[in-house]
Symmetry: C2
DNA sequence: TTGTATGCGTTATCAG
DNA sequence: CTGATAACGCATACAA
């Protein structure tokens, strides 16, 4: 592949001149046309990596997510693209596949001058291996999940309130026996959503039944065991609150398989939105996260940090969720 | 950020020794422990980019897709990850947002020694800007769509047959008036799926009604105009074949809004699978693509090329689709 | 085994 | 405005 050097040779100028031309400085018109010619004939392609080595700027940002198939993640990324694409930033997406070890590797990979900044959704809220975040280090903005003892910018959804409003709605429809399929205890959002559930029960003076609280994985098969446990309880709940997308979908599938009608035999309120949820009969009640907006705000904070502006650090943005209430939660009176 | 040089200084050895140590060569044990110490204290992070500049190997591959929110794309990527992750390759995902210009930029970005190889789903089948593919250039494997006059390895689904089988199923259920919402004429898969539709009609001696063939975008809002056109025809079709995921979902939504019951008032067969399709009432008939398998095979071919094995070039793999037939297509007798 | 020197593609600094 | 050259972080050929 042709380099700036080949171009210089063919155009009979120095590499410096070619570099300056490429970076928009004014050079003698004659040289300019000759360089343009040379670029054409050699089919020269500029190498941003080599530049990055020199300038410590690559005009690219890394995005680290748990899984590429996660609908919430892709919606967030669309928001990030909306901000960064117009500024000609490249976006590199890596997935940690929910593994701490992979997260470490990928962060390392991204941090090494490969990108100017990182937007990351951490695997757990217990650990995040990032060192120098301010100053000369690569800026990092967390999304969706906070990490304990980790001073970083972050944009998250208000999970406590999101869950609270959902459970409150269920209570207001007359339910007292409300099960929750919660995420892993070490994940921030799972902790918060469970807290919202507990607060709602507390505020409405409903006693907490530990049997109704089951933890599961956030991953693809999440909630399958949990649902079975919940449904085979002697005094089973009349409503189930599922706390992320895969859990919600799996629970729906299992109910279907068992011949349980959603909203009749057992009520259901889920988390995260896909248009198909509202096409089902009945449509599914869900907590809707401002996923795209999370991406947008994270990208904006990151740009600020890349630009060297470290005011209000660490800046933690908490965005409101909304609730879609449907007949998937039965009104009991 | 600490470099190999700093480590060398602190460990009182030369950079060469550190480099060799990092690359697994045997060095004097005493030096090894000193280097390990230095790496610890400096929190040294290895920079794979700089190495890539030197070695032309980065142990990373680029994946270019039209949209990150496309369910088909993410499924393909999961297949790619399955192959490449165990080999410690990093995967960089870029999206072209269906824009030729962005595709050009991203391919350029990836090709410049940033990655060892590229797996790409081209925006159109008319153009793909890649130059030296064999030999010293960055290997490229196309997925899902072929490009005219472009000799490249590719893994695609058998779209002609996929569409053919779907339309055949519709015909066998007694339908004669079958509408198709086809993708953009310049996209390979759209051309092939339309061809399958036409062949099926031809084989079953059903006359082609041009009014029943409508082209639309593959993007998010795809099929909305098309559906309105189709449904307001004086002699409207009894069944509609929608040829990708967004078109299918949009059509379903519009039918719901218009109070048309799927499988009763109008029959529907879609393309691409999501578990939720089978939870609807009735479940939706769809052509299922081997999306993950496409990713797996593309990654395997790419690895072969990266390894310098250019046998059977260009290698074009065509994978079979399957069909889920449900009551969303009404049996007319 | 180890250290030294050179090169990868680009930018930045300097003197011309 | 231009050319020459050092520097970025690392790998490697070569000499020691």
């Amino acid at each position: 592949m042709a380099t700036i050097k080949d171009v210089a040779k063919l155009a009979s100028v120095s590499v410096g001149t070619v570099s300056r031309f490429l970076n928009g400085y004014t050079i003698k018109e004659e040289n300019q046309t000759r360089i343009e010619q040379a670029i054409q004939t050699l089919d020269f392609k500029f190498n941003p990596i080599a530049r990055g080595l020199r300038t410590n700027k690559t005009y690219s940002v890394g995005v680290l997510i748990p899984r590429i198939s996660d609908i919430f993640c892709t919606q967030v990324i669309e928001g990030i693209e909306e901000v960064l694409e117009p500024l000609n930033y490249s976006i590199l997406i890596c997935s940690s596949n929910d593994k701490l070890e992979l997260q470490r590797e990928k962060i390392n990979f991204l941090q090494n001058k490969c990108v100017d900044g990182i937007i990351a959704m951490p695997v757990t809220s217990a650990e995040f291996n990032v060192d120098k975040v301010t100053g000369n280090g690569t800026p990092v903005v967390l999304i969706d999940r906070l990490v304990k003892d980790c001073e970083l910018d972050a944009v998250v959804a208000d999970n406590v309130n999101g869950a609270y409003l959902a459970v409150e709605m269920i209570i207001n429809k007359g339910h007292q026996k409300i099960g929750i399929i919660a995420g892993p205890q070490e994940i921030y959002t799972a902790q918060e959503r469970l807290m919202g559930y507990l607060r709602a029960l507390n505020d409405y003076h409903i006693e907490v039944n530990e049997d109704y609280i089951i933890h599961t994985q956030y991953k693809k098969d999440g909630g399958i065991d949990a649902f079975h446990q919940l449904i085979s309880l002697p005094d089973r709940p009349t409503a189930i609150f599922t706390t992320n997308y895969p859990i919600t979908v799996n629970t729906m599938r299992l109910m279907l398989e068992k011949g349980l009608q959603i909203g009749q035999d057992v009520s259901l309120c889920g988390y995260d939105q896909t248009e198909l949820f509202q096409m089902l009969n009945p449509p599914i009640s869900v907590v809707v996260q401002p996923s795209k907006e999370i991406g947008i705000q994270a990208a904006e904070i990151l740009l600020k940090r890349i630009g060297g502006d470290f005011s209000r650090f660490p800046q933690i943005q908490r965005l409101k969720t909304s609730l879609i209430a449907t007949d998937s939660v039965k009104t009991l009176f």
